[in-house]
Amino acid sequence: MSFLSRHTLARHTLLLLVAAMAVLALTYGLSPYRNYQLATMAAYLCATAGLTVLVGLSGQLSLGHGALMAVGAYACALSSAELGDRGTTGPLLLLVPLACAIVATAVVGAVVGLAGARLHGPYLAGLTLTLTIVVPAITTTFADQLGGDQGLSVLVEPAPVGLGATFPLERWQAWIACAAALLTVFLLANLVHSRFGREMRAVRDDEVAARLAGINVGRTKVIVFVVSAATAGLGGGVLAVLTQAVSPGAFSLAFSLFLLMAVVIGGIGHLAGAVWGALLLVALPELTGSLADRIDASPALAERLDGNLSLLVFGLVLVLVTILFPRGIHGLVTTAFGRLRRRTPDSPPGTTAARPSTTTTSTESIDA
């Protein structure tokens, strides 16, 4: 135990392995459609995890993460087409495009991050918001390369034959996506628990004091933006692989805003919150949709209710959840968990789940 609390890498790797096993087992229990949903959720998780770190911990508001995902998706599509032309097959056809997605988005993120480093609140929001309307503009301007509105299709190989002929494609997709998501969360968890994680929260809280503490505020902001963009790019790339297609319409302004909603409702600034958020992005539309489907109406009314009713429910849920659980689902869960723990007599006083684990190392040494 104390070995684990002293070695972040060992602790996080262990968690990673446990999570991977759990996901693996899960994919065998799910139907193809559920596996596809799991895969989509994992792709979203790449983006929401990066976004929650960016917004919640470094204090930079991005309304354009959907656009960054688009960059990743297009990079993935273009590079897979290029590789396809060269006759590449096998794992390279998957890994290289995803790497391209990460790199391309990181570069774009660096540019935006540099431009945005001096901006605050709504000004950064305005800048990133504009990114989302630029995506379709760029795809139509370079329609020959980017396929315009219609987008590009992505060259994807089926599941490896080694897995057997009847192995469902969706399970394979879930593996790919979950691997990417776990890796993302693992790295982000490392980062958040490191010195850099503390520094970005310091920058968020008070830029002047942060500078006086020797923190290079601009650099910190840009790095977080780049990291966050890279994870969004990976998410976009994975999404492209899952759907075998990219098009500008899939990365609309609304999508970017939904990503933000997801991280806030999940519990901003917490990776666990990002998981909740990604889950919501996948599950909530389906739930509200099926709820709305229950209602039987005359043809004339049905035409108007169709779609709109589930939007209405969706909107109401967002409003209510945000008001009732201001710290998001993660906050709700930790509070409930904390209450449960407090009732158990042998738990040490004053420990809360929200405390970063690095501090526990020296808690003892100080209190002693």
Binding site: V55, G126, V134, A137, T140, L260, V264, N308, T322, P326
Partner: protein, 292 residues
């Protein structure tokens, strides 16, 4: 040259409505320190009210009054019934709730009015008056300009010169302190939202007839451009909103006219980055904040 004048005039006319909308955003930013993402949807709702009233009575002006009044009520209602209960310690929650409101409002509009575009009337001709061979502004454009200027001057005056404006700003900047100074912060917030709703409703009523007509999503893009305009101008400044709005209108017009409308969004982004790099709080924002 003719073409340049044509594009300039066209861009200004278009920019004026962005400016009107940006003013509503500035109003709420000054009065409540949040960017109201539901401004567009609220304004769309007001235009539908105006549409219904005008259809029922045949009078544009009654519709206009209805748009302003309903905007006021919708804005104030959103604050009293929803935004007031949002945890102020979580700065983003208000944004998320506003986005939730967008969905709710648009869904309700879709259910009530369906998803077809409803054409709306304009009170004055949209045929441009021309001098010689050169088509210039239409009477309607002049009407829009006049309205925008009146709103801008009115807001600027109200905010800086009147006691009400002062208390509204105080309530927005420092609610706790304002309370100690006798400001009824809740009422000020309601008022800010109401006024912003009214200005937004008015702005939407100016712009929607020039586009495809009333629609739950009719103001989505206008919102985006108006937000950009407000950011360019500086969210605290009514003049900035107008300058930003006209600027965005001109850029869109020149780019579509000289190069092709597909890259206009890219140019807007370029302008935005350029302005913000030089002035991180917009053209008319304060930049000389003392740090320590």
């Amino acid at each position: 040259m003719d073409r340049f004048i044509f594009l300039t005039v066209d861009g200004l006319a278009r920019g004026a409505v962005f400016a009107a909308f940006a003013l509503a955003l500035v109003l709420i930013w000054r009065g409540a320190r949040i960017v109201n993402f539901s401004q567009g949807a609220m304004a769309a709702a007001s235009t539908y009210v105006a549409y219904s009233v005008t259809t029922a009575t045949g009078s544009y002006w009654l519709g206009l009054a209805a748009a302003i009044l309903s905007g006021l009520l919708i804005g104030a209602g959103a604050e009293r019934l929803v935004m007031r209960f949002v945890d102020a310690r979580q700065p983003l929650n208000a944004v998320i709730v506003a986005l939730g409101l967008v969905l709710v409002i648009q869904a309700v509009l879709g259910i009530v009015y369906g998803s077809e575009y409803r054409p709306m009337k304009v009170p004055f001709s949209r045929t441009p008056l021309s001098i010689g061979d050169q088509a210039l502004l239409s009477p309607y454009d002049l009407f829009v300009f006049g309205t925008v200027v009146v709103v801008m001057v009115g807001l600027g005056w109200a905010f800086t010169r009147t006691d009400l404006g002062l208390t509204m700003r105080a309530a927005a900047f420092a609610p706790d302190m304002a309370r100690l100074l006798g400001v009824n912060v809740g009422r000020m917030l309601t008022l800010s939202w109401g006024l912003a709703g009214a200005v937004g409703g008015l702005a939407a009523l100016l712009v929607v007839p020039t586009e495809l007509g009333a629609h739950p999503h009719a103001t989505d893009l206008v919102f985006v451009y108006a937000f950009t305009a407000a950011v360019v101008g500086g969210l605290d400044s009514p003049i900035g909103a107008v300058v930003g709005g006209l600027g965005v209108g001109l850029v869109l017009s020149y780019v579509s006219g000289y190069s092709g409308s597909d890259i206009s969004a890219v140019v807007i982004l370029g302008v935005l980055i350029g302005v913000l790099l030089l002035r991180p709080s917009g053209l008319f924002g304060h930049t000389s904040a003392r740090l320590v």
